[in-house]
């Protein structure tokens, strides 16, 4: 039976690796300036983890095959190098692997999170609430009016709690249910939650960030490809969590300007 176990382990290990090697289930293609670094980090990790996975499963299978039907009277053998050899190997191989991944990974992370957005990045505010996203553009004055949570009223479509009668900065703010951005322009996303925890995930943009109730969180990115993508919530926020999404349209600058004008007219 030992040999059968060995063969099964190898079949499972190889079968598990096939969809990876064949790229059967891949994330959608990257449309961001920073995503290439993440994708590269991902494929390097896949190579290292994949080799570790296959090597250990195959070694396990080989040893089960070799030593599960011992001849009567045979003696216990000892692995050359013993435990000391294995400990040194683990420190050198895995230590080096971990360190390399860690150090290279810093670059990809820093690109998104440790560098501030550039001064001319376009600010857009996003508010998450059970179970929808709303977006706010500052309008021609470039200023967001203050928020008044007590004024939030879905019935009158005052999703953000703006006081447009009294706050001059709010007057020209444009609130939308869909997000649109110009291509190749850095976006500075100002995120806040109205009620509970939510998250902003656009796989194509290679961004995912939680909304933290009580905290203003920000994120910046640049989209490089025109198209229509989904923004999904990844933080369990209640019964409608699965259905909480919005669309992100990446337009050419001209199309974006037209879109914004149209939205402003509809306010």
């Amino acid at each position: 039976m030992g040999k059968f176990v060995a063969v099964t382990i190898i079949v499972i290990a190889v079968a598990s690796a096939i969809p990876i090697v064949m790229h059967t289930w891949e994330p959608p293609a990257d449309i961001s300036t920073h995503g290439a670094l993440i994708d590269e980090q991902m494929s390097e990790t896949m190579a290292e983890a994949g080799i570790s996975f296959l090597a250990s499963q195959i070694l396990l299978a080989i040893f089960i095959w070799m030593f599960s039907s011992p001849k009567p009277g045979s003696r216990i053998k000892r692995l050359p190098g013993g435990a000391k050899g294995l400990v040194i190997a683990a420190f050198l191989l895995v230590g080096a692997e971990a360190l390399a991944l860690g150090v290279f990974g810093v670059k990809a992370w820093a690109n998104v999170y440790l560098t501030p957005p550039s001064a001319n990045a376009m600010p857009i505010q996003v508010q998450a609430g059970q179970f929808a996203f709303y977006f706010r553009y500052p309008g021609p004055d470039g200023k967001f009016g203050p928020l008044h949570p007590d004024l939030i009223n879905e019935g009158t479509q005052n999703f953000f709690g703006l006081d447009q009668d009294h706050d001059p900065d709010s007057k020209d703010d444009i609130v939308t249910a869909e997000m649109a951005i110009p291509v190749n322009r850095e976006i500075h996303l100002l995120m806040h939650s109205k009620d509970v925890g939510h998250s902003f995930f656009v796989p194509e943009l290679r961004v995912q960030q939680d909304f933290v109730p009580g905290l203003d969180v920000s994120l910046h990115f640049t989209a490089t490809k025109v198209g229509r993508y989904e923004i999904v919530c990844t933080q369990l926020c209640g019964l409608g969590h699965y259905n909480m999404k919005a669309y992100l349209s990446v337009y050419s600058q001209e199309d974006f300007d037209n879109w914004l004008k149209k939205e402003a007219a509809m306010q």
Binding site: I9, I12, S16, P19, W25, E26, P27, P28, L37, I38, M42, T45, M46, S52, S56, L60, F67, S68, I76, K77, R78, L79, G82, A83, K84, L86, F91, L93, V94, G95, A98, L101, G102, G105, A108, W109, Y113, G129, Q130, P149, D150, I152, K194, D195, V196, G197, F201, R206, Q208, Q209, D210, V212, P213, G214, L236, L239, G240, H241, Y242, K245
Partner: protein, 595 residues
Amino acid sequence: MHDMSAHAVHHHAPPTSFIRKHVFSLDHKVIGKQYYGLALIAVFVGMVLSWLMRIHLGWTNYPIPGLHLLSSNGAPGNVMTPEYYLQLMTMHATIMVFFVLTTAPFAAFGNYFLPIQVGAEDMPFPRFNMMSFWVTFTAFVVLISSFFVSDGPTLGGWTQYAPLSAVGKVGGPGEGTGVVLWAASIGIFCIGQLLGSLNFITTTLDLRTRGMSLMRLPLSAWAWFITSCMGLTAFAVLMPGCILLILDHVAGTSFFVPSNLVINDQLQPHSGGSTLLWQHLFWFFGHPEVYIAIIPGMGIVSHVLITAMRRPMLSHRVLIYSMGALAVLSYMVYGHHMFVSGMNPVSSLAFSFPTLIITIPSTIVVLIWLGSLYGAKLRINTASLFALGFISMFISGGVSGFFLAQPSIDIMLHATYFVVGHFHLVMGVAAMFGIFAGTYFWFPKMFGRMMNETLGKIHFWLTFVGAYCIFMPFHYLGMAGNVRRYQAFVDDYTQRLIPVHQFITVAALLTGLAQFIFLYNLMHSRFWGKPAPDNPWEATSLEWSTPTTPPPHNNFGDKLPEVFHDPYQYGVESSTGDYVMQASPEKVKSAHEEA
């Protein structure tokens, strides 16, 4: 080293009444079996919940016959509502993590075998021990009771992230009473674990018999000892977290709720709390909890495997130190659950490095197992098959940790099925394989009867192949961006993934059915199994030296044993064959020297 044989302290006479013998027993062996029974009930409840979820995920809106009996609100016309899916999911996870993965390998086997393996007649605080079980049982009843309150159990997931968990009924169905019952249950559960851990630690340190030095403890005993040290610190943090969460519900406090939250157009009457505080408290417990679930499995599997390999591990010490290193590091890595949570992004890097480093002790453990297989005389039986299966599962679940340790990759994989696949393999399936290995190995000692090997092997094959069919595809789904905790897949890019979900559902139903073979084997063998000899596996540690099988009330009869050897003297020449028992004074050339 403590000489307990000279002044044995806990002479309590065997109880005579049914209640004292089987219900409120002070005997660690009975308590161990009670824990096992609780875990057995819990695991089948948890499994059926997962079946319901899987059917819904594969074929959303497909009526499941009889489901409305479970909850008429949750399943009108037998079709699961979105909130009921989340409620079942939360209960599945809570039951499995707390009442199965913590209870069975640690509390059940540890209670039964730790005192025997150290050569003691019981634990030092038998009343605390009895309390620990009944407190845990109460916790389970409180959790299950939330199925029967008006709007059902909480839907917030086993992590119960605030403020969803703390704002009360306005958060959604189950977020009022359901959360309070959940937090009460888990808070009570923590008390049980603290009492249990206290007993485990003192048993190991104070009740070792003559000759039983720390390094002569079997690896299973070491694993329970290390786990109990973690239990004492981790559950001590979760418990106050649960108390604060309950206060946010019933006392009008705002520990986890900030100001200016608006739900249903209503400004919430809270201010000043922090939602990230809950995450820090929860994960400071939550990550060590992963190791609380898996380290006993490592110990059990090492113990079973050594007996099957007929040789000691390449290094006893290195395995112990590695398990210790895992325990210590587990407290420093918890932030990897929070890379995109909104905490300072520099902290993410600070948590990333220890997470990558923790792969070193894990790798050492795996390499020691593999290196010890080399040149062994491996006996294949159901227990050793599950032990080998554990290693394979632990490797598969472990390598995906490389991805999740890195904040930059976590941007893509966080909250996807990749994470679900990772933790199910490494702490769910692997730990279950540890429990199965322990069950097939120790059942003869616990019940005096052998389990059926043929049924056991069928159980192994179906479970081994089945578990891979369920959990490997989870990784692929995650890589394609499939978000977890969704009751249906409405996003455009997830449409092509639905057939994969259907495949997983079929695999889960079949693998689940195979578990009834195990249940039948367990029940049938308990009463009608072949009578077991005292030492069926020709093993060396003290549990196989008891005067009777199952062991008598005080474990060793009139006199506690004396230990003369390291725990795993296999591959030697002695009067009994290729092994010499720890309690045998027979002098043999040490297996360690020869090795």
